[in-house]
């Protein structure tokens, strides 16, 4: 076998110009990273595969008068609700857990820009699977009438779409924040699933806290997004809980990503 000693030369690259790598290219790289490992592929494939399964189960098991578009969406968004945050966590933590950050941040030294590219890529992928939930729900509702004599109501409205997109993106942002804060996949995933539930239990059981629960507990304050009846007061409470569960961990998280060392060996 004859091998080249050195690769073919390329056009010389200019030494003058804006530092680092353009944002659009970083987003394409991060999008590719979302699907180029088995872990990330399984995660997205899992979401994509579960959604139609849920539609079939509903068509078989749910009472005909419950076969409405709103009900279908409630169920088809469930895999996204649980798995999108994991996508957010892994897109950040894998750079540390797998130490690929050594390469990522050497090729693109502006870590803030890389973080934004990660968030943008996760957002695009998130929106794609959210659309999948809406489409699968529509297919289910269209089949519900002919197959089961289902109710088939399409009433949902722009507010319905807004509510579901919002609750799913808050989850994704929370995943990103937890990932940045902890930088270790397992720790971030466990914390993401355990801590909010501990909060819910505490606020539900501790005397005197129940009244203020919606200001502090994200699960409770976003529950109105599923009943599509958020009041102005409710939006404020949701904002407060989002600040606590998304912004509060994200701020030290961003600082950590910008400053912490990606260890080698």
């Amino acid at each position: 076998m004859t091998t080249l000693t050195l690769p073919p030369a390329l056009e010389p690259a200019p030494l003058a110009g804006p530092a680092g790598v353009p944002f659009g290219r970083l987003v394409r790289v991060e999008l590719r990273k979302l699907v180029d490992t088995r872990a990330s592929r399984w995660l997205l494939a899992g979401i994509a595969a579960l959604t139609p399964v849920i539609v079939v189960v509903m068509l078989v098991a749910v009472k005909p008068h419950d076969l409405t578009y709103e009900k279908f969406v409630d169920f088809t968004q469930a895999p996204q609700k649980y798995l999108l945050p994991v996508l957010g966590i892994l897109t950040v933590t894998s750079e540390w857990s797998q130490r690929t950050g050594l390469v990522t941040f050497t090729l693109a030294p502006n870590r803030g820009r890389v973080l934004c590219a990660k968030a943008a890529a996760a957002l695009l992928a998130g929106l794609l699977v959210i659309v999948l939930a809406f489409v699968a729900a529509a297919a289910g509702n269209a089949l519900g009438g002919p197959l089961r004599g289902g109710d088939g109501s399409w009433s949902f409205g722009a507010g319905g779409f807004r509510d579901i997109v919002l609750v799913l993106l808050i989850g994704l942002a929370q995943g990103l924040a937890f990932g940045m804060l902890l930088l270790v996949s397992a720790a971030a995933i466990v914390t993401y699933f355990v801590l909010p539930n501990v909060s819910s239990v505490v606020f539900n059981t501790a005397p005197g806290l129940k009244a203020d629960e919606k200001w502090f507990d994200l699960n409770t304050s976003t529950s109105s997004l599923y009943s599509h009846d958020t009041t102005p007061h409710g939006w404020l409470q949701m904002l407060s809980a989002t600040l606590i569960w998304v912004v509060l961990p994200a701020v030290p998280g961003v600082l950590r990503v910008l400053r912490s060392e990606v260890k080698s060996g």
Partner: protein
């Protein structure tokens, strides 16, 4: 814009808590040569290289690559090829995918990945395997391919020979030699003197966060004086002293600061039978190196 040296490092310092990893490091690395960055484990090699490529911010001092701060370089992968840790790859990605991602980040077409696979001798089957299944030697080859992706003018490689078999080291030497002959700058670190001796033209020796020696390999290896052993150590010591030759004793041999002929004449004048006489060669560098290593292990014990 064009700098006289490819890499210029001055007064670099970096501490982690109470531990000072890099105390005061200054050196220059020129184009057209392979420069070895030699030091025992924990001497501060990796920290220095990380500061060079902007992964770690120095407490003081500065590092410039191609006349600018690494972080200010446009598309740095096209100018500086970096391999800091061959094992720092996502175990779930295939070898080819690692290179394809790198090419994408540098704005190069995907076929560039295939060109580099051929250069480092990873075949199609190996390229399709996930890096989690790679041996250390294969990871080093993949890492070197990644460093060469952007056709850079400067290569910064941390322990690239680690895990390569003798054939692999020979291949690496040929590759880096040709890279340097085309005017490229190579800075590679190693904790093994023998390894660097084989590959590098110039040496920078670092110990305990400081540069302790630097220069052309021949100079550093030649300026070692003469090793001499005689039939009677006491008489030989007296003979060398009488001839005005400075010498230090190691076991029953001496390291004399003079040419072999002068040493032999002094011994003859003193009536000593010479049993061994040779240029110290690598010994000085080696003893310097061993001393550094010993100092560091003492330090570890004290801590």
């Amino acid at each position: 814009m064009s700098a006289s040296h490819a890499i210029e490092v001055s007064g670099l310092r970096r501490s982690y808590g109470s531990h000072t990893a890099v105390r005061d490091v200054s050196f220059q690395v020129r184009h057209g040569a392979v420069t070895g960055f030699l030091g025992p484990n924990g001497a501060g090699k990796s920290t220095t290289l990380r500061m060079l490529v902007g992964l770690t911010t120095p407490d003081s001092g500065q590092a410039r690559v191609l006349g600018s701060d690494y972080r200010a370089l446009p598309n740095p992968g096209r100018h500086v090829g970096v391999l800091l840790d061959a094992s720092a790859q996502h175990s779930g990605r295939t070898g080819r995918e690692v290179l394809a991602l790198g090419a994408m980040a540098m704005g190069l077409p995907p076929r560039r990945a295939d060109e580099l696979l051929e250069v480092v001798g990873l075949d199609a089957d190996e390229a399709r395997r996930r890096t989690g299944t790679y041996s250390l030697g294969m990871r080093q080859r993949l890492g070197i391919a990644h460093a060469l992706l952007g056709d850079p003018r400067v290569l910064v490689l941390d322990e690239p020979a680690n895990g390569l078999d003798p054939g692999g080291i020979h291949w690496l030497r040929t590759l880096l030699r040709e890279f340097a002959d085309r005017g490229g700058c190579v800075l590679l670190s190693s904790h093994l003197l023998r390894e660097v001796e084989v590959i590098a033209d110039l040496l920078i020796v670092i110990g305990r966060g400081r540069v302790v020696a630097q220069g052309a390999k021949q100079e550093l290896l030649a300026a070692g004086g003469t090793v001499v052993r005689g039939s009677d150590a006491g008489t030989l010591a007296a003979a060398l002293a009488a001839a005005g030759i400075a010498a230090t004793r190691t076991g029953d041999a001496f390291l004399a600061q003079a040419e072999p002929e002068q040493v032999a004449r002094a011994a003859a004048a003193g009536g000593v039978v010479v049993l061994e006489l040779r240029p110290a060669g690598t010994d000085r560098l080696e003893s310097l190196f061993l001393q550094l290593t010993a100092d560091d292990s003492r330090e570890t014990v004290r801590r």
